[in-house]
Symmetry: C2
Subunit: 203 residues, 2 copies
């Protein structure tokens, strides 16, 4: 079923970065935060592998919003940061962000990015992508200086870094799609959306 | 030799994208276009492989600006688009951009991105990186619609696309560093600049 004219997809997320990625590619969305308690979902699905957990979180958010918006195409997304067996949560404050960065220093970690599209409770499409990032050796002084530069912006992402900004200084190497790092498997998602007739010019 | 306080690196390029990439990472630059005739350099170095040609172009631009600015750190950059044996130049007009996109349709091409740093005629650092891009099958109607959306912006890059904008709709897959696609081997360049003491907070 093609999108109804005048009704953009709903992005079940408060993420400004995700909304901007879609808008830049010609897909404006209506943003409605899901209110899903991510910690509860994580606790309930703790035994899942990383990709399945990221998908479960993305689907839980999309499903919660879709239930209140019958007939609308709803997109959910999630991103997990994984280093070895350990999963990291979004930093709570700048001290927590500093601890994250100290843990990443001189090591590699992965970002697992998931997206789900559903309508009326039916999952129409889903996808995960991974990116691998190597952080250079960071002294405590560099971490402090970085956090002074970015301030509370460090709390906006699970990695406490902004690769598209000053965070580029933290990395030795990034393998994988930039969009995946920013929080959406954008190219496959756009392919799905074109199949739904969005945006009309690109189909 | 560390950068002199108050004297930013010079970027020997008029590229707004390259200047923005560096500024976002905390490295503001002074932009001075080199005035180098790229077609002449390309003709002179026609027999070089792609990486060497991209480096030669980057170095020619940096050297031209450095000659007029003794003691200053000067960065030069270049990007070539290569498909099979064929090199593509920046499109001259929208009809040329349409021809580029029709040639890329349903195929893979590579972007070869080079940067050089020099001071007083001495090359201090150089690097090339490659990205591989798969363009989806584009109908003439899609190409026309895309060019109507981006307008003269299509002429700003050798590929006639803006991956960070509506151009994301043209691609099936992008392998390689996003910064390389945008026009700079940014992460290695930042590593070199940190060695030069730029920016102070990241060293």
């Amino acid at each position: 079923m093609a999108a109804r004219p005048g009704e953009p997809p709903i992005l079940a997320s408060a993420s400004a970065v995700r909304a901007r990625l879609l808008a830049s590619a010609g897909v404006p969305v209506e943003q409605i935060a899901s209110g899903v308690d991510e910690d509860r979902v994580k606790a309930a699905f703790d035994k899942l592998d990383h990709d399945s957990l990221a998908l479960a979180l993305a689907e839980a958010k999309a499903a919660a919003v879709a239930a209140a918006h019958p007939g609308r195409l709803v997109l959910g997304a999630d991103q997990l940061l994984v280093m070895g067996d350990q999963r990291f949560d979004k930093p709570r404050d700048l001290a927590d962000a500093a601890a994250h960065l100290a843990a990443f220093s001189g090591r590699e970690h992965e970002l697992v990015t998931a997206a789900v599209a559903l309508r009326d409770g039916v999952v129409l499409w889903k996808r995960t992508e991974r990116a691998r990032l190597a952080v250079r050796s960071l002294t405590p002084a560099t971490i402090d200086a970085y956090l002074a530069v970015v301030g509370p912006g460090a709390l906006a992402s699970v990695g406490a870094y902004q690769l598209e900004g000053p965070g580029a200084q933290l990395f030795e190497r990034v393998e994988g799609d930039f969009f995946t790092v920013l929080g959406l498997p954008l190219l496959p998602l756009l392919e799905f959306l074109r199949g739904e007739g969005v945006p009309a010019w690109a189909c």
